[in-house]
């Protein structure tokens, strides 16, 4: 299967989140409680367990795209409308508020499902 910059980034973020929350099993007793982080992980590892697209992975440096290390909202977060996840990669915000929504900015959705908004499409 093809590994890309996108899958590597997804892996890095999920792995970092798992390391921070120590949430290995969905039915752990305290899975619904907020976890605290005692310092950031030393590094974010991207496992390459199979033949991967070496060009994509050799260009991808997870250290340059560190996921959020501190458990909690980004500095800019507030409970008001000021929250903007667009600064986080991959973009989690699911489109802008609808009143100002302009579909011109969307690409063709090739996966059947809700739109996926990424800042860049690194797929080959």
């Amino acid at each position: 299967m093809k590994k890309t910059k996108k899958t590597a980034l997804t892996a890095a973020i999920l792995l970092a989140a798992a390391n921070m929350t120590s949430c290995d099993f969905p039915w752990s007793a305290d899975k619904n409680e907020e976890k605290t982080v005692y310092g950031p992980p030393d590094s974010v590892e991207v496992k390459d367990s199979s033949d991967a697209d070496s060009n994509a992975l050799s260009e991808f440096d997870p250290a340059s795209e560190m996921p959020q290390l501190e458990y909690g909202p980004p500095d800019m977060f507030s409970d008001s409308d000021d929250f903007d996840a667009s600064s986080e990669d991959p973009q989690d915000v699911y489109g802008p508020p609808v009143d100002s929504y302009d579909p011109e900015g969307d690409d063709v959705q090739t996966e059947y499902g809700a739109p996926e908004f990424l800042e860049s499409d690194g797929d080959s």
Binding site: K2, K3, G72, D99, Y112, L118
Partner: protein, 358 residues
Amino acid sequence: MLDVRTKHANMEKLAEYRKGLFRQPQLRNLFFELTERCNERCLHCGSSCGDVQCSELPPEVWHRVMDEVKQDLGTDHKMICVTGGEPLLRTDFFEIMDYARQLGFSWGMTSNGTLITPDTAKMLKKAGMRTISVSIDGLADTHDAFRRTKGGWERAMQGVQNLIDEGGFKEIQITTVVTHQNINELDKLYKIMDKMDIDSWRIINIEPMGRAKQHPELLLTDDDYRYMFEYIRNMRMNGEPVCYGCSHYLGDEYEREVRDWYFLCTAGIYTASITADGDIIACLDIERRPEFVQGNVLHDRFTDVWKNKFGIFRRDLADTNEKCSVCPDKDRCHGDSYHSWDFDNNQPLLCLKDILAQ
């Protein structure tokens, strides 16, 4: 698990966006069910396809629909998704879909892969197909028994390989429907797929619809669901291009972690479908009930129907059910997928949020 507060904030934005889509629906996915005929007899088929008598629209009707969509809505940001039955059973398949290419539509398809010879793969590329998802529902014996087609697995895998060899497609995907009988084959399946140059592996759960209703032994247990989602997440943590499908709200733990988006049932707000006999409906996965048919392309302009009908889908199902209406996840789930709503008893058939939270 990713930051729950971030997830909640983003899902709240999505909920607002969704309400806006009720007022301003944006057609993004247009499904063409070219036929209900199929050369397989899958036990889980939601449409009960097979060797059936089926009235099929001629190419000129499909062309007219495409003309209307292009004239009224444009081709940008839209994907025509071809499905069936097995669409390649239509001898006029390329006559229909090359027209999409000529008009500038992006299109993709689902297929059982058994009819994809090297020449067919070449023709698919020539006709402008961008994406394809081929069904592989277990190891060879399991797949063949499930789909009641001897040799089906070999032919489907060869079909995938023919596509890979042809090259030039945006995405070649394998889709596996997970059942209680094949869930233990996921690891072995992965080892096979890992050697293939496919772009992604979509893992979805069997739904209790169509022919699957008659086979309760195939349905997943709660433990099966938990295992499946944990499996998908672990694969993604390892950088594998694996994802869950678009269905079902999954709750705090798994939303955004097993697919690259948050749950949103797009039936009637992003997605519309035209059945083999021309009925205009929202999503082909939704049970075929008369009240869901919004029109028919034989006598209605598709774009007029898209603009003026579909009201039954542009609302929250959660508001109609006592339990859902008071659920704290109501605005994120909005009653879950339309296709898994029990309209006779006015309740969701499946609440994965509750199952996965246990």
